[in-house]
Amino acid sequence: MSAATGVTSGLTKNDRIVFEDVSKFYGEILGVNRVNLSIPPGVTSLVGPNGSGKTTLMNLMTGLVRPTRGRISVLGLDPREPEKLFKILGYSTQFDSFPKNLTGFQFVASYLRLAGSDPQTVEQLAWRAIEHVNLTEAAGRSVGSYSKGMRQRIRLAQALCHNPRVLVLDEPMNGLDPLARAEMIALFRAAAAEGCYVIISSHILHEVDALSDQVILLSNGYVVAEGQIHSVRNEIREHPAQILIRCDRPRDLAMKMMELPQTIEVRIHNDDHGLLIKTKDADRFYLALNHIAVNGIEIESVAPADDDVNSVYEYLIGNDEVTR
């Protein structure tokens, strides 16, 4: 169920994050199984309940764990070569522990020093990353004294500090207040607009919707769907597409809709100014709607009602442990 491939078909393996038949077992416990992915630039969200394999996938991508079977390549690089991989990749993990006795600035700066940067570059890049996440005032304080949100932000600063082309972010919004969330979303979107690969795992589906160019849905260690949300939704044939139409004469429109062969169900909205229609072929339905609209009914808006991560997730996985 891969729709992303078509959008960025000009990309080679060296321009993608590729999983080829990757499985990971922790002893007898399944991490992920038979994963085949080809992730293009843009924001890609990993969505799934706890234990579905999101973090394992991220750890595999970054070489923190090694696949039991299969091969992984990040823009042509092998995750087993950290000295090359982490020049182009930054990973903000969920692990909430830090090297001891470091201030926020030292935490970011020591990462850059480990990369071998000269002191001047370290100073410049560290402060820039800290400013990006709005932690300038707290940068001189020990990380141990930070709140959860601040620790999240300093981890983000560390992941961002060396201007990586690939950003892997495990639950990056955890602990952030609404304003900080909005800032982060803008930051990730800006990175994606510059051609970066931003891989995000999240429980919060409305944020995934606002952020993502494509999603990877995981359940029990398996990839159940992958691609742009709209394409994924179109592939789910067993659940008819739902379309919300706002108009002045919903009852007249409902009569006409029922005449269409692709219409399954029509419901008049509670406020009497719209219809919710279920159809088994959304594309043909939209064509037919054009003809109906010409015949005197004033249509204010037409919008898919279940063409979002929320609905896709519910159809494919269910609604366990996910925040809307």
Binding site: Y26, G27, N59, T62, G63, L64, V65, R66, R80, P82, E83, K84, L85, F86, K87, Y91, T93, F95, S97, F98, P99, K100, N101, S110, Y111, R113, L114, A115, G116, H162
Partner: protein
């Protein structure tokens, strides 16, 4: 590339030194390292007091005595003979002892003790009825004290203090970070895992050397400080004292290298440090009883060969204990140094293979 690696190694050392030197949980290592220093420091103070007392006694003597004079006294000499040889005793106690004879009657025996000194050594004489019955010459004998120093070094410092100190520091380089869930910080940096391992090992080596070599140096200073300037000069410049001191410092550094390499590897391979520590401790202790070839796969084998002072085993010492103390098949100094270096490099090579395979999987730890 080498320049980059050195820059990265320096960064790792900087981070690690901060952790190692300021860790509260490493306090016991400092205590362990300083214990022999405290022992020799207390000996230094006791010796200083005794020397001052002996000087005072010597100053009060009628004659200026030498060490030979003190040794000239024989049992059964009369008090007159003693006074003729050494002069009137500067310290003298007299009392009468009531003693029961075999026939049940009591006799009163006049008892005396004399104390003489040449300024360094002291002579205690016990006299009964005007005759010498016991002679005790006490002094600062270089040979005796350097054997005591060697004993403390070999049996406490090398085998226990440095051993457990290295265990505490080197095992924590990776295992401690896994327990703290902070190892991913290093594994997510653009640094080769083996370069990271070398950086961590060098940080551990610097820390252990700083702690244990410094403590050893302090021990040597207070040990030599107990002697009078003349004796000290004799010991240091004419009796291999300087060479012995340098050897002790070198052996300490080599012990940190050897044990460090083993414990670094053990910290990567085992979750529980007690098991490998017990195995290595057992292996090192059992070294004298192992076949010749296996003896060479041990840190203590080479270190024992490098020790500058041999510890004598008095006649009648149990065979097992003699075997522990003695070194029947020592190797030459260059071979011993090369042996430890090569063995450590080999263990580090194995560790470098292991570190490349390591995974961050805190949740299953």
């Amino acid at each position: 590339m080498t320049k980059l690696w050195w820059a990265q190694i320096r960064s790792v050392i900087r981070l690690e030194m901060k952790k190692t030197f300021f860790a509260r949980r490493g306090l016991w290592i400092y205590i362990l390292a300083l214990l022999p220093f405290l022992l020799f420091l207390s000996q230094f103070f006791i010796a200083s007091r005794l020397r001052a007392r002996n000087s005072e006694i010597a100053a009060r003597s009628e004659k200026k005595l030498t060490e030979q004079d003190l040794h000239a006294i024989q049992p059964d000499m009369t008090s007159e003979e003693v006074i003729a040889l050494l002069g009137k005793p500067p310290v003298r106690y007299r009392w009468n002892q009531r003693r029961r004879l075999d026939n049940g009657t009591f006799v009163v025996i006049p008892r005396e003790t004399y104390k003489y000194s040449d300024g360094l050594n002291s002579l205690f004489l016990s006299l009964e009825d005007g005759k010498v019955v016991s002679i005790n010459v006490q002094g600062f004998t270089l040979t005796g004290d350097s054997v005591v120093f060697a004993g403390v070094f070999q049996f406490f410092y090398l085998r226990l203090a440095i051993f457990f100190g290295c265990l505490g520091i080197f095992m924590n380089l990776f295992r401690g970070e896994i327990l703290d869930k902070s190892l991913h910080f290093y594994f997510l940096a653009p640094i080769r895992r083996d370069v990271l391992m070398v950086g961590k090992f060098l940080a551990g080596l610097l820390a252990t050397c700083a702690i244990f070599v410094t403590s050893e140096l302090l021990q040597i200073i207070v040990f030599t400080g107990q002697f009078s300037p003349n004796v000290r000069e004799l010991y240091l410049y004419h009796n291999h004292g300087l060479a012995q001191g340098a050897a002790y410092l070198g052996i300490t550094a080599l012990a940190c290298l050897g044990y460090g390499a083993f414990f670094l590897a053990a910290g990567m391979l085992f979750r529980n440090p007690i098991l490998p520590a017990a195995v290595i401790l057992g292996w090192e202790a059992a070294n004298p009883f192992l076949p010749a070839l296996l003896q060479k796969v041990s840190v203590i084998y080479y270190l024992k060969s490098l020790c500058p002072v041999e510890i004598p085993t008095p006649p009648g010492t149990p065979a097992l204990l003699s075997l522990l103390v003695s070194n029947p098949d020592p190797v030459s100094t260059p071979v011993a140094i090369m042996g430890i270096v090569i063995m450590s490099l080999f263990v580090l090579y194995i560790s470098s293979l292991q570190v490349r395979r390591m995974e961050i999987n805190y949740t299953t730890e």
